[in-house]
Symmetry: C2
Subunit: 423 residues, 2 copies
Amino acid sequence: MTESNKETFMDKKLSRRRMLKMTGAGAAGVAIGASGLGGVLKAFGVPDFLEDDTSVENKVNFYGKHQSGIATEVQTHVYFASLSVLVKSKAELQELFKMWTPMAVSLMNGKPIGETKNSYVPPVDTGEAIGVDAKNLSITFGVGPSLFKNKSLGLSHLKPKELNDLPHFPKDQLEEAYTGGDLCIQACADDPQVAFHAVRNLVRAASGKVSIKWTQAGFNSIPVNKEGKRETPRNLFAFKDGTENPRSEKAMNDVVWVQKGESKPWMTNGSYLVVRRIQMHLETWDRTSLQAQEDTFGRYRHNGAPYGKENEFDAVDEDRKDENGNYVLPETSHVFLARQVKARIMRRAFSYSSGVIDHTGAYDAGLLFISFQKNPQQFTDIQNALGRLDKMNEYITHRGSGVFACFPGIKKGSYIGEALFNA
Amino acid sequence: MTESNKETFMDKKLSRRRMLKMTGAGAAGVAIGASGLGGVLKAFGVPDFLEDDTSVENKVNFYGKHQSGIATEVQTHVYFASLSVLVKSKAELQELFKMWTPMAVSLMNGKPIGETKNSYVPPVDTGEAIGVDAKNLSITFGVGPSLFKNKSLGLSHLKPKELNDLPHFPKDQLEEAYTGGDLCIQACADDPQVAFHAVRNLVRAASGKVSIKWTQAGFNSIPVNKEGKRETPRNLFAFKDGTENPRSEKAMNDVVWVQKGESKPWMTNGSYLVVRRIQMHLETWDRTSLQAQEDTFGRYRHNGAPYGKENEFDAVDEDRKDENGNYVLPETSHVFLARQVKARIMRRAFSYSSGVIDHTGAYDAGLLFISFQKNPQQFTDIQNALGRLDKMNEYITHRGSGVFACFPGIKKGSYIGEALFNA
Ligand code: HEM
Ligand code: HEM
């Protein structure tokens, strides 16, 4: 028996009776009820407070002015979860976010949510990420419009007026199975299992307090060039996706981060997340000429440059006309249309590929479109500009939707959403 | 305009008329019909023969004694596709595999299936893997029992007697949506988009000749230790999965590779693939004590060592008893039971996590179990040994199934499945 095994057995002996009392389990190894889990975990292994461990490799910081997973350089994987709230009071909801805070720090430190010290209860952490480093895990928490309609929580007076379900857009075919949610957790990492593990453990620790409404896993394939520099990933239409995005601090403040006075005070330094599960009809796209594909975006496929320009990051000039007086960018192109309104957004999307649709054999694949903006209206303005004109409409169908107010960043000693609960 | 853009426009001018004739498209950019696609691709950009480019980074070889993706060190992602055959003759099926051969080589070289030289037809390659290296892509082709029952193909006399749908096992809850198939393509890579891209392009080039029956994406999170060595990945129950597997050449010949005279001659050096889509009931598992979890396998969670041993790779001794005469390995444990029969298999599994099951909110997650063996009976013997006794049955449900005869490796100048067509 190794030292570590010995330790486990020692612990068992010492605390077995206490465990059985605690869990109400009549015999060793008996499963405990769902609702008792959070308490057991917290009592036996989850710390109350944790700091970012900056010695960890591939580590994103939890604490800061803004939440992680928004300005964070996009990772290769996401596991996005939309949750329903089961708690019946504001105090319980507050407790939930307090409990989640050190867990999220621990996960982002590449550690389990807590140490399992005893074999007679379920492991504190589900364990599938043991031995894998932090993988740049980021965890972003948000609250949806329905949370504020929930009377027993008494939060309705704190709903920002801009936080509403998105309007119905002409070609939407939203499915209940991918729409809405009281809370969201966006876990992004450079490993699918690490992202999944984060959501699974947060939800599990909150069993009886939240339930899953829908989830979607997604990925980005990030090319690295000869100089070792990351390039813009391509979506499943093979076009570079994410080129035109706010990046400077000024642009982020203009577009993404809620400034003082722009929303409810508890949202200052936060941002609004819009998620759309957009099916891409790959079979139709794949029968379309390269010319028509490029006309769809107004960009070249091979290097992502805008029509009439040479390089991916050359400025788009949507007003430019050729010698015949025609716009250089096709007037039905996605980029031309997206630029007909002033609003801007920060896109942080992932591809998904979830098998095939049962009755048709078509790929259930597309874009898990995620954008951040200081007001969901920015998204709505652009989506309306794309409207019925966007040539891309022939090739896509919006199947899911959500909008969430993502809290500002968390200060050490504080907890996720504190400003909301103290408002 | 850059040099490369100029080239594209030159090409367009030169061959536009030829294109329009070829595709029957009346106007530039008009989509062409599904059935015409393969021919167009082949005529304009797919080579007839290609060699492994050993100068490419992260490259698995296509040609060899055995197909890739079997003995190949397991990658982090799989996209598994089961296909139905639409062709009506052996000659057409043979043409299909001939067409796929150089495409598979090109993909495994980290290249598109062919060069797109003209904008007035659909791109030869769908392009989403441009700029990403080979990512250790392996592509494994197999044929299912139903292919030999298809009268128009005239292959029935070539069916190996061991190639049959698996028998119904007591606790099976197989769904048609994840079961069977005439052909399979297993694409594995260290990138989800590269794996998906491979299947998408092979299937697209074969449009009108095959259709997709079902697909499943999967992943492995492979820990790397301090010495930079890869460790055994953990499944979603957090246990190291793949520890006990044939590895030596002798073991591979005994367990995995069909030897001369052991099956139909066309299968010599090939192997049989069994795939099972096994849902893992994570919610139930996560309420189970660590002790009971470890008893389920007869191995320790933290390091994967078998009960009574110290290290992951220590030999399992299923006959050993303790001082009271009880087996050290629980008699209902997965490992104990799997060892009650002589048969062995090589497991090469991936986890999957495909959202939640609509009406219950339970994770649609589990193991895309894939095993290779020289005879599917080896799998059946073990599955029968697990039978109704396996403690793990409480936590899993088999939802999908397939069995495929994977051809031997391909010699340069030959093509996938040649031995079958020449038999
Ligand atoms: C499957 C759906 C979509 C695909 C495949 C897609 C793809 C693209 C591509 C390839 C670009 C050009 C490269 C870049 O700047 O990133 C782009 C730009 C853009 N897209 Fe989308 N997009 C999709 C949906 C949407 C939606 C729903 C919105 C918002 C309503 C949107 C807003 C934008 C904006 C604002 C730009 C930048 C335009 C500019 O300022 O140049 N996209 N998209
Ligand atoms: C979700 C389903 C399954 C899970 C989670 C699972 C997990 C495991 C684990 C953790 C081990 C021990 C570590 C190792 O040697 O890799 C193992 C061993 C093994 N499993 Fe499974 N397994 C599953 C399904 C199956 C099925 C369907 C079969 C075949 C019918 C199978 C056959 C084996 C064999 C042969 C061994 C090695 C036993 C030995 O010789 O020590 N497993 N499995």
